[in-house]
């Protein structure tokens, strides 16, 4: 199922703000579902409605950013619940890579499992990337995982990801299930050695 994820290029959408939690990414009422299909249109639903009421436009509603595939966020993005519905909604909206100052751990892990890399860059560099896309929404952003950098316009900024997941993307092994299932004999061995699995017999 997996495939190599190395360089992703496309237009970007800027989303400023620290601590954007999963309840804001996808409100709980949309969790009443048995499939992830159709979640894309509800991404950031409440934030979008609120801004509209104030006569403002959320980046996900802004026609200048329609069709973007790179999401540029701020820090601690995706904190809160473990709901995979959050990254699924973002991915179904059309995002294939996320760049930010930092990510919540569970959100990051969910993204790895879905094949959506999340890269970190410095606050200063993210700021300049936000500015650049807001100035020129048509600007192409290239996220290069193999070179650990993000290129836009004439600039290249360093971007990082922990070695383990980075390798998973670069070798096409981000979808762990095949690998995990292939180790089932070793799994049974570990289980057999655990006192509680043996019921402390």
């Amino acid at each position: 199922m997996s495939s190599i994820v190395s360089t992703i290029a496309g237009r970007a959408v800027p989303l400023r703000g620290n601590d954007i939690d999963t309840d804001r990414i996808i409100p709980a009422r949309y969790l009443r579902c048995v499939t992830f299909d159709g979640l894309g249109q509800f991404a950031f639903e409440d934030d979008r409605t609120q801004l509209r009421a104030q006569g403002k436009t959320h980046p996900f509603d802004d026609p200048r950013f329609a069709g973007a595939s790179v999401l540029v966020v701020s820090s601690n993005f995706g904190c809160g619940s473990s709901r995979e519905h959050a990254p699924q909604a973002i991915a179904k909206w059309g995002i294939t890579v996320i760049v930010g100052i930092s990510f919540s751990e569970i959100f990051f892990g969910n993204c790895v499992a879905m094949g959506v890399p999340c890269l970190r860059a410095s606050a200063v560099d993210i700021e300049s990337l936000h500015d650049a896309i807001e100035r020129d929404p048509a600007c192409e952003v290239t996220v290069d995982l193999s070179k650990n950098e993000i290129r836009f316009g004439a600039r290249a900024i360093p971007a990082t990801m922990a070695d383990g997941p980075r390798k998973q993307f670069l070798t096409g092994q981000w979808d762990a299930v095949g690998e995990l299932v292939s180790g089932i004999t070793a799994v049974r061995g570990t289980a057999a050695g655990l006192p509680y699995v043996r019921k402390f017999a």
């Binding site: 400023r16 620290n18 601590d19 939690d21 309840d23 804001r24 409100p27 709980a28 009422r29 969790l31 009443r32 579902c33 048995v34 499939t35 992830f36 639903e45 409440d46 934030d47 609120q50 601690n76 809160g80 619940s81 473990s82 709901r83 995979e84 990254p87 930092s102 919540s104 751990e105 569970i106 892990g109 969910n110 499992a113 879905m114 922990a162 383990g164 997941p165 390798k167 998973q168 070798t171 092994q173 979808d175 762990a176 299930v177 690998e179 995990l180 299932v181 180790g183 089932i184 070793a186 799994v187 061995g189 570990t190 289980a191 655990l194 006192p195 509680y196 019921k199 402390f200 017999a201």
Partner: protein, 478 residues
């Protein structure tokens, strides 16, 4: 790098092998599932023709969508009914135990597993729910995971994970009257921030933690995730063993003795090395209330809402957003803020001791719920409900104007009919005050202990619970 901590020992015991990615394949001793984050995982299994090799190591319940009033089937909400049918079908097909409403064993997933003795020290636990950290109270390493990882655990009983660093949170001293485990964790979050724990497991230790009951330890570990830590735990001790003894799935007879001996060994040794240590003093903790939109926005009930410049500059945008969303101003007092809804429940504070303490406050106060307030109590599980009713707690609540409900997550995240309306503001014993968390996109949440929620319900506004506790202590002396 940490060593000889409980985290390190449990990790090493459960490590199956190093994966090509450099991550560890980690065996999961107990896998808990619920109706919201599991249906897509089962669909993925079917898509790929995968089996569940250890069905006896997964336990299912329903909690998020179940109505707490009319529980007759089919549910009025057709989407909720569809999710119920999905988990029933999935559990049947894959041979997984499911605790249904009416079984006496249903309830919030993080409440039922401990009360049935399913969660044991030295285990790894995973659940498609971030508050899985709760189980760390037993000295288990418990991770919240996403749906693709639920699939991974179902298909292999393992996860691909990177080792965490370990931070010891040392809390010493005695909590003052009217100050609870909830205040302790809100205080820790306030000082370490909502993202301070990213990359860490939190070990809670020190004389204050040692003195906490298991239910209080669960409250503390439950909210480790709100500090960014992937898991939190307390070393198992006699209090842990006393809690577990005699529970349905706990070991018995000679196996019990062997289990206790093993549990003692997995605790962090005196020689444990931590990546980081932070210390707190219990006497400095006040009843704590959140004023903003993140669980680390807590202040003592006697304090005023902090000014923007008391936060790091990167936080200013969030802080401004919090003032605006909550409609609260820097410098104004949190005590006295009027509330519309009072909610007692959730996996943070929906256990018997929480309900007892709230009922004690209600009894000591003697009044009824303020006319402007809707107040309701949702036991965390069917077993909690039965036990509370046996003690007459339900009667105390209803006599004073609170509604008494059936078990479920309820207005913790408002996926069932219990929701805030419009700009309503709630006093809530739950764990998240995010924008829109309690069902209304504009709804507002003030997090606090169940005792503080009880007094807020009666007074109609945020009130220091110590005023009524002191009054009743004084009158019982006279």
């Amino acid at each position: 790098m940490s060593s000889r901590t409980l985290f390190d020992k449990v990790w090493d015991l459960h490590a199956v092998r190093a994966l090509p990615s450099g991550q560890t394949q980690l065996f999961i001793g107990l896998h808990l599932i619920h109706e919201v984050t599991s249906p897509q995982a089962f669909a993925m299994l079917r898509e790929r023709g995968l089996k569940v090799p250890f069905p006896e190591r997964t336990v299912a319940t329903v909690d998020h969508i179940v109505p707490t009033e009319d529980q007759s089937r089919p549910y009025a909400d057709t989407l909720a009914e569809e999710m119920m049918v999905a988990i029933e079908t999935n559990c049947r097909e894959f041979g997984i135990r499911l605790f249904q409403p009416g079984s006496g064993k249903q309830g919030v997933v993080h409440i039922i597993a401990p009360e049935q003795g399913l969660t044991l020290p030295g285990m790894t636990v995973a659940c498609g729910d971030s508050h899985t950290a709760t189980h760390g109270a037993f000295g288990a390493i418990a991770f919240g995971i996403g749906t693709s990882q639920v699939r991974d655990v179902l298909a292999s009983q393992t996860l691909s994970m990177s080792r965490l660093k370990v931070r010891k949170i040392q809390v010493d001293g005695a909590l003052r009257p009217g100050v609870y485990a909830k205040d302790l964790i809100l205080h820790v979050l306030r000082h370490l921030t909502a993202k301070g724990g990213v990359g860490f497991a939190y070990e809670f230790a020190g004389s204050t933690i040692d003195a906490l009951s298991m239910e209080e330890r669960m409250t503390v570990c439950n909210m480790a995730i709100e500090g960014g830590a992937r898991c939190g735990y307390v070393n198992p001790d006699q209090i842990t063993f006393d809690y577990l003894k005699g529970r349905e799935h706990a070991p018995t007879g000679a196996a019990w003795e062997r289990a206790v001996a093993w549990w003692k060994q997995v605790a962090s040794g005196a020689d444990a090395v931590f990546d980081d240590v932070r210390t707190f003093t219990a006497e400095e903790i006040e009843p704590t209330v959140t004023w903003g939109i993140s669980p680390d926005h807590g202040i003592g009930v006697g304090e005023t809402i902090p000014a923007r410049d008391s936060f790091a500059k990167e936080e200013w945008a969030t802080i401004d957003e919090a003032y605006q969303y909550m409609d609260l101003k820097a410098g104004s007092r949190i005590a006295g803020v009027p509330i519309d809804v009072a909610f007692i429940g959730s996996c943070t504070n929906g256990r018997l001791s929480d309900l007892r303490e709230a009922a004690r406050v209600v009894g000591a106060h003697g009044g009824t719920v303020a006319k402007t307030v809707k107040a309701f109590v949702v036991p965390g599980s069917e077993a909690v409900k039965v036990a509370a009713e046996a003690e007459g707690l339900d009667k105390i609540f209803t006599a004073h104007g609170f509604e008494w409900r059936n078990a479920g997550c309820s207005m913790c995240l408002a996926m069932n009919p219990d929701k805030l309306i419009g700009r309503q503001i709630s006093a809530s014993s739950s764990n998240r005050n995010f924008k829109g968390r309690q069902g209304s996109p504009a709804g507002r949440t003030l997090l606090m202990s169940p005792a503080m929620v009880a007094i807020a319900a009666l007074e109609g506004r945020v009130t220091d619970v110590r005023t009524v506790l002191q009054r009743s202590a004084a009158s019982s002396k006279s």
